[in-house]
Symmetry: C2
Subunit: 220 residues, 2 copies
DNA sequence: AAATTAATTAACCGACCGGTTAGTTAGGAA
DNA sequence: TTCCTAACTAACCGGTCGGTTAATTAATTT
C-alpha cells in the first residue's frame, strides 16, 4: 500500500521532501473528502511526521490545499506543452489532446475528484484561470477550428468542451457508484479497465463531434 | 430565496410536513458538502424547527441522508415508468430517455452533486441497486438493442452508459469551475442555459453512438 | 566545538458539531 | 374539561478538529 510505504520512510529532516510527503498524503485525503471534509490528522497519519508540520510548512489547511492544486495544474501544464496541437488537423489534434488528458487521469486518478469537490464544496473559489486554461481552452480552440474547417458539426464549443471533459473524468469520480455494472470483484481502477475506458471515451468523443457530411464527401 | 420561504412558513405541528421541510433543506446541504460535510445545524436553520427534530424524525444524520436519497430515487423511478422505451427504435428510445433524465436534472439540480458525493466520500455505501436500475440499466439495455439492430456502433455498453450519464450530470456538478468559459455574469443554472446544455448533450450522445454505415445505407 | 537556526515533536486549547435529555405545548380522544 | 401523546424546544454533553506553543533535536555555520 502507498500508505505503508510513505509511513515507513524515515522522517528525514529535509524540508522539500517532507513537504512532498505531506502533499502526497493530502492529495489522497482531499480526494476523499474535499477541503471541508479532509482531516489534518488523517493526512499527518500517512506522512511519518506530526500534524504540526502541516501548519509549519503550509500555514493552514487551506494553504496545503492550494499547494496541492497548484502542483497538479503545473503537472498538467507540463504535459500539455509537450503535445503539438497546431500543426495537425482538428481530428488528430483532439485525439492527441484526449490521449494526453487520459494519461494524466490514469496516472493521477485522485485529481478529478479533487476538482469536483472544489466545484461542489467551495463553489470554485480556488479554481483559477490557469486551471481552465490547461483543461478547457485547448479543447474549445480545437473544436472551433474543426467547425470552421468542416471536420466537425456545428456544435456549441463551450457546452461540448464541458461534456468532453465530463466524459473523461466522470468514470474517475463515480466508479464506486457504478461498480455493480460489471461482474463482482472487477477492479474499475485496474490498468486494464482504465485503458478500456480511455479507448471507449476517445472513440465516443470523436464520433460525437464529427461532421457526417464531411465523412461522406471524403469517402466519395 | 428558497431559504427564506421555507423558514417563513409557520412550524406546523404536522409530522409529514415537517419531515418534508427537513428533507428539502437537507437536500441543499448534502448537495453542498455530502453526508460527511453536511452540518445538522445548517439544515435546521433552513427549516423553521429545531435541530433536535432531525434526530426525532430521522434518528441520526445518516437516517436523514438515506431518506433524501430514497425520495430522489423514487421520484426518478416514477418519471421513468411514464416513458415507453420498448415500442420504438433504439435511437428514439435513447432520445426519450435522455429527455426524461435531463428534465429530472433540470428540476432537481441538487441530485447529481449528492450522488457524486456519495461515490467519492462514502465509496457508494448507500448507493443501492435501485439507483443503478433507474439510471444505468435502461441506457445499457437501449445500447445493446441498438448494436444488435445495427443502429449503433459496436461500442462497449457499460462504459458508454457511464459516459452518457457523465455528460448529463457533469455540467450540474462542475458549473462553478467552468463559469469563466462564458461571459461574466452568465448564470449557468438559468433555464436558458440548462436547456442549451440539454439540447447540446442529447445531440452529442446520439451522434456518439450512431453507426455511420447504417446512416449511409439508410440515405442510399 | 560552540553557536545558530531550521525542522520536528508532544501536549494542549477553544470552537464546533452530532447527538441527548428534560421539560413544554398543541391538539385530538374520552 | 380533562387527559394523553405526538411534536417540539432549550440547554447541555462529550468528542473531534484546526491550530498553537514551548521545548527538543539535527544539521550547518563560524
Amino acid at each position: 500500500m502507498t500508505t505503508a510505504i510513505r509511513k515507513s520512510n524515515p522522517p528525514s529532516r529535509d524540508s522539500d521532501a517532507t513537504k512532498n510527503r505531506i502533499m502526497d498524503a493530502a492529495e489522497d485525503e482531499f480526494a476523499r473528502a474535499g477541503l471541508l471534509g479532509a482531516r489534518t490528522e488523517a493526512i499527518a497519519a500517512n506522512t511519518g511526521v506530526t500534524k504540526a508540520m502541516i501548519f509549519y510548512h503550509f500555514g493552514d489547511k487551506e494553504g496545503l490545499y492550494r499547494a496541492v492544486l497548484d502542483r497538479s495544474v503545473t503537472k498538467r501544464l507540463l504535459a500539455l506543452q509537450k503535445v503539438d496541437l497546431q500543426s495537425v488537423d482538428p481530428v488528430e489534434a483532439l485525439g492527441r489532446y484526449l490521449k494526453m488528458f487520459m494519461r494524466h487521469a490514469k496516472d493521477s486518478p485522485k485529481v478529478p475528484p479533487i476538482f469536483l469537490f472544489e466545484s461542489m464544496q467551495n463553489k470554485g473559489r480556488f479554481y483559477t484561470d490557469m486551471f481552465v486554461a490547461v483543461t478547457y481552452t485547448p479543447v474549445i480552440d480545437i473544436l472551433k477550428r474543426g467547425i470552421e474547417s468542416g471536420h466537425f458539426r456545428k456544435l456549441d464549443p463551450e457546452q461540448t468542451a464541458v461534456n468532453v471533459i465530463g466524459m473523461c473524468v466522470f468514470y474517475y469520480t463515480s466508479y464506486n457508484n457504478v461498480r455493480s455494472l460489471w461482474p463482482a470483484g472487477t477492479d474499475l481502477m485496474s490498468d486494464e479497465m482504465k485503458e478500456r475506458h480511455t479507448r471507449e471515451t476517445i472513440d465516443m468523443v470523436i464520433a460525437s463531434v464529427l461532421n457526417p457530411e464531411h465523412i461522406v464527401s471524403k469517402s466519395a
